[in-house]
């Protein structure tokens, strides 16, 4: 009789313990984003930090995602008040510089910050090779489902979110993602891709058909 009761109690407790045990295996800070695999939300944001050398874009220039079709886009949300952004800044800036001339666009997006402070931070950190844009009202950040900074989105040449990284990126990871996305773009567009960097107009036409 007592054994029977013990079994019933154990059977009742087992699912609860199981549920808690399963809960312990999950990281509460890791919230899955629904964006990877989907078309990236469009944006048109003004450059406030031009970037350096071949990657530079003039201040005030509007960067539109639609104009970047055919390029792999690395979208890095950052802020001058963000400590973790300091960790990734140098490596991200250096890696971006090595992709000069390739169909890749690195873009910083300032999140809940003032462009002047952003510029101060960039000069304090020793420069940023790629341009940064301002996102007033965090509209684009919300459109990308941002939780905090730094978060980095890797968009493929068709404008689809391929991968999202929460927290600081490492140079190896950025290279791996960007290289694989460039390779995928070249494999899927064998005729148009190697022709010229100005082939942007031709690429979206073929990609548009493929995306549907």
């Amino acid at each position: 009789m007592n054994w029977k009761r013990a079994w019933i109690a154990a059977a009742a407790a087992a699912p609860v313990i199981g549920l808690f045990a399963w809960g312990l295996t999950r990281d509460p800070n890791n919230i899955p984003s629904p964006l990877p695999g989907r078309q990236a939300p469009p944006f048109a944001l003004a450059v406030f930090s031009p970037g350096q050398a071949g990657l530079a874009r003039p201040v005030g220039d509007t960067v539109r995602l639609a104009d970047l079709k055919g390029k792999v886009v690395v979208l890095n949300f950052w802020a001058s008040w963000c400590l973790a952004c300091r960790d990734e800044h140098a490596s991200l800036s250096q890696v971006a510089a090595t992709y000069e001339g390739q169909p890749v666009q690195f873009l910083g997006v300032l999140y809940n910050d003032v462009p002047d402070k952003g510029l101060g931070w960039i000069s304090e950190m020793g420069g940023q090779s790629y341009p940064s844009v301002d996102d007033p009202g965090a509209r684009v950040a919300i459109d990308y489902g941002l939780y905090g900074v730094p978060e980095t989105f890797f968009l493929d040449a068709t404008g689809r979110v391929a991968f999202k990284n929460t927290g600081p990126v490492t140079p190896g990871m950025v290279r791996l993602k960007v290289d694989s996305l460039i390779a995928a773009a070249q494999a899927s567009a064998p005729a148009a891709a190697p022709a010229a960097p100005s082939g942007d107009t031709a690429v979206p036409a073929t990609k548009g058909g493929k995306a549907q």
């Binding site: 964006l35 965090a138 509209r139 939780y147």
Partner: protein
Amino acid sequence: MTTLHATWRSALSLAAACVIAGHAAGAQAPDLPAAPRNAPQDSGALRVQVQGTLTDAQKNDATLESATKSVASQLRCPVCQGLSIQDSPSELSQQMRTVVKEQLASGKSQQQVKDYFISKYGEWILLEPQAHGFNVLVYALPALLVIGGAIFIVVIVKKWTAAAPATSGSAASSDDDAD
């Protein structure tokens, strides 16, 4: 019958929308035939003027304000612990509230605005999980436990009450025996 009912309901809501919209339009245009061209049926008073930015009238619109509150209190603040964006003072929450308000003002229904945030942040953004799939457990389990507990108590009490007369009877008989 159902179509008649639906027609009546839509007619009623349209009339209500006209009354509220006319009221909102206030003194400037009392004679306006106040049927809003592209107002949604479920929130008739929200009239669409500008996409993206709010007009002064919309900023002071009480109906829009209460609809914004209603949606904002159902959405989780991404940078807080267990707070809605309505209750959170964080910058991101304020910005998200603005987005909610603008989308409502542009004619989206409350559900459409929630769906927008779900499409960006996943269902995590809802403070209360939606009742489908695995989530149904959250709503069903308490009810099942209450019902199961009630049945358990009934069964146990019946067992006790059935056992009690028998033991008292046997006790009495043993007493009788002793006597």
